[in-house]
Amino acid sequence: MGFIGKGLFEGMVVTARNFVGSYFDKERLVTVQYPEERVQVPENSRTFPFLVFDKDSDPVASMRCVACKICEVECPPQCIYIVMDRDEKGKPQQRPKVFDIDISVCMQCQICVEVCPFDAIKMDNNYEKSQYGRFDELVEHLPELLKSNEFYNKIKPTEATAVDAKLKADAEKKAKKAAPAAKPAATAAKPAAPAAPKPAPVAAPTAKIAIPDDAPFTPEQRQWLSGYLSTVAASGVAPAAAAPVAGTPAAPATEAPAGNWPWHDPGLGMQRRLDLAKETPIADKLMAAMAQTDCHACGYDCRGYADAIATGAETDLSLCLPGEAETANMLKKLMQEAGKL
Amino acid sequence: MNVSLDHYLMLSAFLFAIGLCGALSRKNAIIVLMGIEIMFNAGILNFVAFWHYKYFAVLTAQMFAIFAISIAAAESAIGLALVIAVYRHYQSIDVDEMRSLKG
């Protein structure tokens, strides 16, 4: 039955039902009373970056960042500012003295996280960043940026577990590589050992990738899969390719032992480093042109990249990110001088 | 001193003069209309004052006042319609400029 104005009354019935229903049916009230209640943010949500450290006892010493400045270079809106730390003698330390992120500029793109070779910078999920000011208040400095690995594990369990496993595997591999070479290094040159292998980050002892409980696998499948995944995460390649039999001594390191290269100091200028390496073979000259941060952005440390270029194994001269265009140009120049290009 | 009829007559004479002055000397047609309204009101006030002081028993004066108010309302409606029509034609409501009877 229809009459004029029927829709108006139907509408009023609907609103009356809403009104009464909202007092009895809690499902209807979707409001979250914010400061008291919060919505659980999804694990992969991200806001602004933070820096990871490993030991609660000494956050500054145990932070993973080595001040390689790759993120500063890569950051699209250029919101990161890094100054490398030095001790009293002016000797560069492998950590930042200043690490600023302007969160009013940051566009939360996560590129810094993706380019970081040390898993030192990660994305936070804290969205309560409002401040009373518009300028300095919106720049985050090193103390605010440093957060522990446990915190990272807490906010992003899946990702952090994978990262920890990978770091642990890397450290083990490095330790194995370094083990034969460490002795000569230790006996030969004690004073200059900045390139000594970084202490392995404290990783969770059992770096196992969690397979969700409701995943449709039989127990055997589950066991195999878990082992496979943790291996993949630890090595970064398929297990068949990188499954060194435990106990087998690793191949002797191709790199020269870390030590007596006077130019291996990121605090020196390019010209000074090249001067120091003036009378040396081409490989050392090439190495002196690098940024000396051993950041592994190129896939090697500085020594290894220089050797690879010198032997022709690596033809790309623009891989040194911290050195930027200066290094790339110098490498090209050196290679031309050496007649190899 | 009590308020006598005298006071009301004086007041309404004064208001009438003000209204007349406005209606005759201002340029703007709307203000001319307003002056006429003031004169109307002064007249109606006279009616009511006479009713109150002399002919309180009969309602003639009040009736006159009511009719006068109605006529004033009709007059102002027509007057303003004319003002709008004139404005459309001349793009102005200056009474000095309305000199021709041509349409």
Partner: protein, 409 residues
Amino acid sequence: MDQVYKVAPQLLKFLSYLLGWLPWIGKPVAGFLSNPPAWFLLAVAIAIPILFVVSVFPGIFAYTTLVERKALGRIQNRIGPNRVGRWGLLQPIADGVKLLTKEDIVPRSADKFVHFLAPVIAVIPSVLLFSVVPVGAGLVPVDLNIGILFAFAISTASVLALFMGGWASRNKFSLLGAMRAVAQVVSYEVPMVLAAVAVVMAAGSLSTLAIAKAQGGGILNVTHWFVFRPWGFVGFILFTIGAMAESARTPFDIPEAESEIIAGYHTEYSGFKFALFQLGEYLASIAMAGITVTMFLGGYNGPGSGPGILGGLISMFWFFAKLGGMIVLTIWIRGTWPRVRVDQLMSFAWKVLLPMSIVNIVAVGMWHYIAIRPIAWVVTTLWLVLWFITLSKLAASENIEKREYRYAS
């Protein structure tokens, strides 16, 4: 006022009895109060209704805003204000403090004096309206014999405040809002007054007290309410629509349509001036609800109402209960119906409401002259229903094509 004048000596005697216990000033004050001079009695009799009006109704306004926000929230499945005090009960006070402490901004090119005057003028007619609303049996601030006419006369003056505010702000949206407000109020005034004429014809008086009294009696003091007559029901609907349009409540809030003209005439107002505009608007709407209750819903009449102290208190209860009901109805409507368009607004007033109110006046005449009630019921109902169908058919005569959606289904 007359009622208060009658009971004032007793009231003062009671006060003097209370004050007599005080040291120092107690004795002389009590002596003065127990035998008051005539001018003092008159002053008390004038002051009490004024105090009542300016204390009770702004309080109702404050909590109407809270109830409105809560109810609108629940209608939209939200919670509504619940931060200030238990269930947000202190919210109106917080709002008031906020508005008082806000900066008072006057646009540079505004007409300063008129801009200042407009919110003040917005409140005055709204408060004056309460002077003719009977809140209980015989309890009306002033029993004017032109009560209803006075109310309409005063309520038209509120348009001026809207116009002044809109014009003085020197803002095109303000001016548009002001012009819409004036056009709307002038248009809806006509059907509203004609709907009231029907009641005046039936009650035989313009006095609000007499109109309320005419609806007493019957079963439980309920059956003689005018809303339970065919013409009264139609008149109630017409008058409610008119009153809502007059006070710019939501389906007719064209003058301050946020989506079209920001906030209409009070776009350029902030702080306390804005609060005064809101106060005036809400008070006018509450007063109009009070007049609707008086004219159609039996006023203070209800089970148990009558003369005497107890009957008077019960009648006050009924009046305020009905007033609350009307306020809730307007809030409910606000939460449900969409805003009408400007052209629809005008054509609705002139093409539907105006003819319908004239038809309603004829219906009252029929009701009066047909002596046998059942026949009167049938005839007036038929007359009204037939006209309603005809008018709504005529109003909806422009055929709206069914819209074809190209992308949505």
